[in-house]
Amino acid sequence: MRRTIGVAAAALLFCAGCSSMGVEPWERDILAKDEMQLTTDELEAATDDHIYFSKEASSGGRGFGGGGCGCN
């Protein structure tokens, strides 16, 4: 448990050090495309979250997990 938090904190700190990385505002053309968004299809992602929440013991990760159902 503590190890998990340690790993997570280290990962976030490493990323915070990424302050010099990135692109100029005019280089964002590809990143602006629909297919490059982190969640391309909200409904498909919500559907998958719900199915796997009902059939497995884990949930969430990307956002708030599925939940709020008496799924069997």
Partner: protein, 295 residues
């Protein structure tokens, strides 16, 4: 009056802002370097202030002041002023005399401050003797008009400035820009970094929500009475006056936005439409232009 330029990076484009012709003006530029964006904004601001100084009715000594204080004597005008006067004549005819640059004197009796002070028909009748392009003797390049009459380029000035600035930007052959003078705007090219320029047309809130136009290129201009009007006995008097009667145009839409190839064209179609009052939509349908009309 403030004549400075502010330059900020807004999301993925430069936004240069300044005040001109009584409106907040902005130049949105997809230039890469700050100094290129500043160069384009400075160019636009300089042209806007030049036109404002030359044609504003508030400044002493400019061509409009000389014409308005000529007291009946003829005045010789330069080419640019002559071009604008010729254009005004065309609009006077196309609008069946309702677009008239001599109608400015009506502001002596009509003050649109949201109050209920509607002038009496006698005072309106009196001021009408100094209104009417037919009284003006215009033979290029000489203009003569009776003492007491005045001309006012307020109805064309902003749109003209926008198009002049767009022309200057195109000559620079630089990055896509959007020139927006208080809602009268033109896109010199389709933007490179996103699918289109997004322009919001203000709505009244709940009844008429804001609309968003995806503009790839071309111009948008809006005519309307959202802010300037008089209200008395439940009747709303729009600030757009009919120079042939001296009274406000009846049943004009609250706001008309037109998309056209140039800002002058968009602005004049929206003005001509508003001058049609109740027949505005009918007129716009026949023009085959993209329009957004709100009553």
């Amino acid at each position: 009056m403030q004549r400075d330029i502010r330059l900020d990076l807004a999301v993925d484009a430069w936004q240069g802002r300044f005040q001109a012709m009584g409106s907040p003006c902005e130049v949105v530029s997809e230039a890469r370097k700050r100094r290129d964006a500043l160069e384009v904004t400075s160019l636009v601001a300089a042209e806007a202030w030049r036109i404002e100084d030359k044609f504003s009715r508030y400044l002493d000594g400019n061509i409009v002041d000389r014409i308005n204080s000529a007291a009946g004597r003829p005045v010789e005008v330069d080419n640019e002023t002559a071009d604008l006067l010729d254009f005004a004549v065309t609009l006077y005819r196309l609008s069946e005399h309702r677009f008239d640059i001599t109608s400015g004197v009506l502001r002596r009796v009509w003050r649109f401050d949201g109050s209920d002070k509607v002038p009496g028909s006698e005072s309106v009748g009196e001021v009408l003797q100094w209104v009417g392009w037919h009284r003006v003797d215009w033979r290029r390049p000489v203009l003569a008009m009776p003492h007491g009459m005045e001309i006012d380029f307020g109805g064309i000035g902003k749109e003209y400035a926008v198009d002049r600035c767009a022309g200057l930007i195109k000559e620079l052959d630089g990055d896509p820009c959007l020139v927006n003078f208080g809602g009268d705007l033109v896109a010199t090219q389709a933007p490179g970094r996103r699918r289109s320029w997004k322009v919001a047309i203000e709505g009244d809130t709940a009844a008429a929500p804001d609309r968003i136009i995806d503009l790839k290129q071309g111009a948008l201009a809006t005519s309307g009475d959202a802010r300037r009007f008089l209200l008395r006995d439940g009747i709303r008097y729009s600030h757009i006056l009919d120079p042939t009667t001296g009274w406000p145009i009846r049943d004009a839409p609250r706001s008309i936005t037109i998309a056209a190839d140039s800002c002058v064209e968009a602005g004049m179609i929206s003005t001509l439409a508003i001058l049609k009052g109740a027949a505005a939509e009918h007129f716009l349908e026949a023009q085959d232009v993209a329009y957004w009309c709100r009553r």
